[in-house]
Symmetry: C2
Subunit: 351 residues, 2 copies
């Protein structure tokens, strides 16, 4: 080790799902939307003026913030935007979880939470989901430095009902509670409506799933103006301009087309419900997902074996070699055709 | 104060230069390039396919990294890209400055350095520039946790010769030394050529100035593969996908047109040299800048008064109300027409 390497920050990075370059494959491994962004996005792209790129973008991202505030019936002061919900969540961890007390989150959840905690030196304790992968609100009672969970949860797809979120908030009134709603638009009920009553609630969203904009890296948070101000201050202490011009312009455009949004999310919901029946027929078990993926376990064939067999057929799904979930595959809901290819392979492989 | 606010991270954010929305003004306050990006950027924008945005971008940013590696004659393993050089520098602070010993940087320098240090709890000591705003390499001797300085320095424009950078590196072989070359392309000599001999050197660059791409948020670092690997690990612990698809595609395109790059940077250099003569004639003093800005002080009229008078005429320049530099204005080199408007106002105002 050379002397200057002694003090490199030591981390165990989050490992994102594979992003193979090849075009001819069925990619059901990173929960992307199988449908393109709203037509207005392509239209706005065609009218974008490259000459404007010479100037800095608006550091306050006002255009995008305004559209999101209007969409959610909030003030612009209640909206924070970032480079995907990962950036937003990282900023929230850095901003809010400084008490030195452990932050609570589920044992089976988005695997970036412990990574951010380690990166920023935030103590944490995981709370075990029950055998059906459900959160018990009582596990979040007691002194802590904050609470964070995805809803629906990842990678299970399980939705926590609003009443139980309220229950968690009622028992955690001294800390910031983050509800990570990356997958809420596929049939879940948002905690957005709890913002009026809980000023310590932060709701986090992304454009990567329901808005078909993973490639643009846009996420946002909704909350009390004091929470948003605190996050913005930290953001301005990190990078003044996080959102580039295309993200601001195209992001605002993507929110405007509500009809397209409803149509595409509904298509994914319909495909998911049909997929549930097919998976059950094939001998799979799974939590009742309300996300754009299913978390499936076969009664007989090990997950890793299926994962490899699918991969050979150029069907990519996600496998997590982790405690409690190593028998499962997380499979993104694709188009009907993509799902048909998946099921037709599984049928021949399993029978 | 509500209970959950007690543990908000407390910061004093960096304040970026104003980004007024109005179009009809002369904007010489944030060191943007007065010329548009290379024509290939507009061309690539016209061919961009919005349908692809539904997928995640390449987390390794390989297309952009490869172009930059080739451009600088390095391996892709020696290049790190981020959301502007601010993101790159923040990641470098977080990755390399963990010894608990104070990091050294000049007292008059990029004002984001102390902000990052505070944000991440990094101790630091400033080293006073001499009366001509020059760095004395001897001030960087002695035990420290790392060294960082811009070259040319901001907001002075003063260039440290390569021999003196070597001198600093020779006396700091146990820590990471960061040379922040945001403004190197306007006549400076890059520390890039020192990379072969100093494995602890990190050179940071941006697309925001010489590449006319402030609006796209692209910065990068060059260094030994071990430095880049450590930064990438930290980056993957923060946000897997920082660079969106337009940044990757258009960034790669911007680097390809060397002729346009040379032509536009040379125009700015020529305008700057003419501006030096005009400022001197008008009774201004300034360090001999090799950046795309001049740091000027009038013999008679206070800087803040000139700043206000210019602002009223819709000519924006940068004023820093800080020790040692509150008599100065930092004025970006614009087009010849913009500079003519500036000088014609100053002539009538000062005489």
């Amino acid at each position: 080790m050379r002397p200057w390497e002694r003090y490199f920050r030591s981390v165990v990075p989050y490992v994102p799902g594979e992003q193979p370059r090849e075009e001819r494959l069925i990619k059901l491994n990173t929960n992307e939307n199988p449908y393109p962004p709203a037509p207005g996005v392509a239209e706005a792209l065609r009218h974008m003026d490259a000459e404007k790129f010479r100037k800095y973008p608006d550091p306050a991202a006002s255009v995008l913030v305004k559209v999101l505030a209007d969409y959610h019936g909030l003030d612009p002061e209640q909206v924070f935007v970032g480079v995907g919900s990962d950036d937003v969540l990282a900023m929230a961890f850095l901003t809010f979880f400084n008490s030195g007390k452990p932050v609570f989150f589920p044992d089976v959840t988005y695997s970036f939470y412990p990574v951010w905690a380690e990166l920023f030196g935030i103590p944490y304790e995981t709370r075990a989901l029950d055998d059906d992968f459900c959160i018990d609100p009582r596990d979040y009672d007691g002194e802590n430095g904050g609470v964070v969970f995805p809803n629906p949860n990842a990678p299970t797809g399980h939705l926590l009902p609003l009443e139980q979120i309220k229950d968690i908030l009622e028992h955690n009134q001294d800390v910031v509670v983050i509800v990570d709603e990356a997958y809420i638009d596929f049939g879940g009920v948002s905690a957005r409506q709890l913002l009026e009553n809980y000023e310590n609630l932060l709701v986090v969203r992304t454009f990567s799933k329901s808005r078909s904009m993973a490639g643009m890296r846009i996420g946002y948070a909704l909350g009390d103006a004091a929470l948003i101000k605190a996050m913005s201050d930290v953001k301005y202490s990190y990078n003044s301009y996080t959102m580039n011009m295309p993200a601001l312009i195209l992001g605002a455009e993507a929110v405007k087309d509500e009809a397209y949004f409803r149509k595409t999310t509904q298509k994914i919901v319909d495909t998911r419900e049909r997929a549930k029946a097919r998976f059950a027929d094939l001998g799979f078990e799974f939590p009742d997902s309300l996300a754009n993926f299913l978390f499936v376990k076969h009664k007989r064939v090990p997950a890793v074996q299926l994962y490899e067999a699918l991969r050979e057929r150029k069907i990519y799904v996600r496998y997590f070699d982790k405690p409690r979930i190593s028998d499962y595959l997380r499979i993104t809901i694709g188009t009907d055709d993509e799902m048909e290819a998946l099921f037709s392979f599984l049928e021949s492989y399993l029978n």
